[in-house]
Amino acid sequence: MTLEKPAAETAQHSPSITLDGVVKRFGDNTVLHGVDLEIHPGEFIALVGPSGAGKSTLLRLLNGSHSPTEGRVQVLGREPVRCSRRELRRLRTEIGFVFQQFGLVGRLTALENVLMGALGTLSMPRYGIMTYPKQLRERAVENLERVGLVDQRFQRCDTLSGGQQQRVAIARMLMQDARLVLADEPVASLDPAASISVLETLKKLSAEDGFTVVCSLHQVDLALEVSDRIVAVRDGQFILDKPTNATGEPEIRAIYQAHRGA
């Protein structure tokens, strides 16, 4: 199968991510069957595909949580497998990660959860808002403002709505000043209205700050709405890789249908 060249490739930057014949196996289960991919700075990639296709595995390869069985993974100019523990931590401070389950400490305030995003720049543990330097606290408030939650900064996170919690998680991610943001089904536990608003926030922030986004989604309509480029995964292979504006909805729907039919 020949993949069409993404439009954004004309940009003269070194790629954010390069995958080169990446195979990932868990025991006998081959989850990724030799995939190639190049992602450029500033792109918003939607990774779509049915559940079990290997999306989460791919994202974990990118931040060094998993290492490839074969092939090469290069992220922000480095290879996570070759990084020492310390280097991997450094690399991770440059990669924001947004989870389906938010990953917030429910009994803490929104502000304190956001501040945790800056731990990678500090050496000692912190407990309580006032143990963080003033300049970080001010940035945390700004970031909460950018996701529209400055009034909730002293509210316990477990009293926020799902959409608000994911915005707090995004504000925490912003503390990292990341060049690359990986999001694994960030809206899968949200209602449709919150989903679109969270994704649009992410899109707006990426445009303002210029970070690259790789976001896995299982809703095709949302992918079409927010992404620059769509990569479709099925059974551990990329079966489509196109600029979003050149992709028709029926084309993607077909991926799911073909899968269900199989």
């Binding site: 991770r92 401070t93 429910g106 305030t109 912190r126 925490r172």
Partner: protein, 547 residues
């Protein structure tokens, strides 16, 4: 009312609604009573419990009680200082245990990602710490650090690490992994991730365990003085040693009042803590402060900060009252090394085996008595069978007072009245098991679903029929579970009663340390740990089968 000694895991357990026809009882429900029954028959013969002996003993005890009155406390300032020292020992010991438990539990939890041997070491330390009673640690630390509260605080700390560490491990394993993964993905180091997520998530439960343990430890530290480890027990030991029974009675009364007052305070504190946990839930944790990025003050924040500050100050004051100097530490270190090298090779004699066996028999026999009498008391304290509220209140009041007295104090009284030997220890244990079991059973009976009883009464069943058919099936699992827990606690107690001459292994243990026969000490400790851990594992296994 929150209990001081409710077994973890059965706390606030509400049984599932009973099925119309209870399923066939698991084998453990009849095997366990059978074993207990057999041991009891043997124990009655071994300990030589005869109705005549009990009747004669009753007379002796009455005569002794007569000699105790009028009770006197002796010089009040001296006694007050010892009460303060008791609290200091408990606070310092609990604080040290809490601090040590955090890394130990983090290492023991199945979420630990470091080397296997570290995890194994953490788990072993927790198990050993739980198996060795604080009074046994006290004997050892008095040898190492000399007489005084420092030995007591360390004894409390060493034994508390086991329970606090175990409970923390469970919490660390249960809390959500999502925050940990998320903060880890930001590039924070392991220590930062731990503090920001696992520790923070577990903090409310950790605080309540520590307060709960503090309550137990104040009881424990009030008797450490019996082996010279400081606190009010020192005065008790002295007055008994000089056969000054009126003063001993006065001191026992002071201990009871102290423990009852503390029980009251601890209930109030627990209630305040749980109410506060609720009121931040639906509001802002902080009001706006001077700047956007700094929280302001409100009453709950002031309360939390004041509570934290008070805790820290109390802990530091208590620590400094232990008068641990570098000099003393150095000498303690030398003594500890001498003792540890003296442990090798451990010696295990027939006498030691006999002592351990006697402790086990005393504990199980007393458990049987305690459970049976406790069941009767519990049935009369709740209104399922007998609807006389006054009776219930009176019985519960008596139980609270009886539980206020540490087991070893009963043992001292019985030894003084009836002479040395396991009979005194058995009686002491039977009383404390009765109090403990009736407390557990009363709580369990109060928690059962009244639906089936009402339904049976509505169709005209008699009260006894309704109780047996409607309440008993629901109650059986917690009955067995709590009986096993009672046996478990009784065993630890019976291992130390020998210190005051009330039978079991405690006598040999105390003697081996004071006569510097450390090889025997090591043999006894190993034997004790093996017996306690084995019984605990069997109890846990049986409880899982039943509940």
């Amino acid at each position: 009312m929150p209990t001081t000694l409710t077994p973890p895991g059965t706390r606030g357990r509400t049984p599932a609604p009973a099925p119309a026809r209870p399923p066939r009882a698991p084998a453990a429900t009849w095997v366990i009573p059978l074993i207990l029954g057999a041991v009891t028959v043997f124990g009655l013969w071994w300990i030589d419990v005869r109705p005549a002996a009990i009747a004669a003993g009753f007379e002796d005890i009455t005569r002794l009680l007569g000699r105790m009155f009028p009770a006197t406390t002796g010089p009040v300032p001296e006694l007050a200082a010892l009460v303060v020292e008791t609290l200091q020992i408990a606070i310092a010991g609990t604080g040290i245990a809490a601090l040590v438990s955090i890394p130990l539990a983090a290492g023991a939890a199945n979420t630990f990602t470091g080397p296997r041997w570290v995890q194994w070491l953490c788990r072993t330390l927790i198990v050993v710490s739980r198996a060795v009673p604080s009074l046994v640690f006290a004997i050892i630390f008095v040898r190492i650090f000399g007489l005084g509260p420092a030995a007591g605080a360390l004894a409390i700390a060493f034994h508390s690490v086991g329970m606090i560490g175990k409970m923390m491990t469970d919490v660390f394993e249960e809390i959500s992994a999502a925050p940990r993964e998320a903060v880890n993905a930001t590039g924070a180091n392991r220590f930062q991730v731990f503090v920001a997520t696992t520790f923070t998530q577990a903090l409310p439960q950790m605080t309540s365990f520590v307060l709960y343990r503090l309550d137990i430890n104040i009881r424990a530290s009030s008797i450490l003085g019996l082996v010279g480890a400081g606190g009010i027990g020192v005065a008790l030991q002295r007055s008994i040693g000089s056969l000054d029974y009126p003063r001993a009675a006065g001191i026992i009364a002071v201990i009871i009042v102290l423990l009852l007052v503390l029980e009251l305070i601890s209930n109030l504190v627990q209630r305040a803590v749980s109410e506060h946990a609720g009121d931040t839930k639906h509001s802002m944790t902080f009001p706006p402060g001077k700047e956007l990025s700094s929280p302001g003050w409100n009453a709950p924040r002031v309360g939390r900060s004041a509570g934290l500050l008070a805790g820290v100050v109390l802990f530091i004051l208590s620590l400094s009252a232990l008068s641990i100097s570098p000099d003393r530490l150095a000498r303690g270190w030398e003594n500890a090394v001498a003792m540890l090298t003296g442990f090798v090779p451990p010696v295990f004699t027939a006498e030691i085996a006999l002592g351990l066996f006697e402790s086990l028999v005393m504990a199980l026999t007393a458990t049987t008595f305690g459970v049976l009498i406790g069941l009767v008391i519990a049935v009369f304290s709740t209104d399922h069978l007998v609807k006389v509220p006054v009776l219930g209140w009176a019985l519960r009041g008596v139980i609270v007072v009886v539980r206020g007295v540490p087991d070893i104090v009963y043992a001292i009284v019985f030894v003084a009245a009836l002479g040395l030997g396991p009979f005194a220890g058995f009686l002491a244990l039977a009383i404390s098991c009765t109090a403990l079991a009736s407390k557990f059973f009363t709580d369990a009976l109060q928690n059962i679903d009244p639906g089936p009883i009402r339904a049976l009464e509505a169709v005209g069943a008699g009260r006894l029929q309704a109780f047996v058919a409607g309440a008993w099936p629901q109650f059986v699992p917690s009955f067995i579970g709590n009986s096993l827990f009672t046996a478990d606690l009784a065993l630890r107690e019976s291992a130390v009663l020998g210190i005051v001459g009330a039978g079991g292994i405690g006598f040999l243990l105390h003697e081996s340390v004071t006569s510097i026969d450390y090889q025997s000490t090591a043999g006894i400790l190993i034997g004790l740990i093996v017996v306690v851990v084995t019984v605990e594992q069997m109890a846990r296994w049986a409880r899982r089968k039943v509940i």
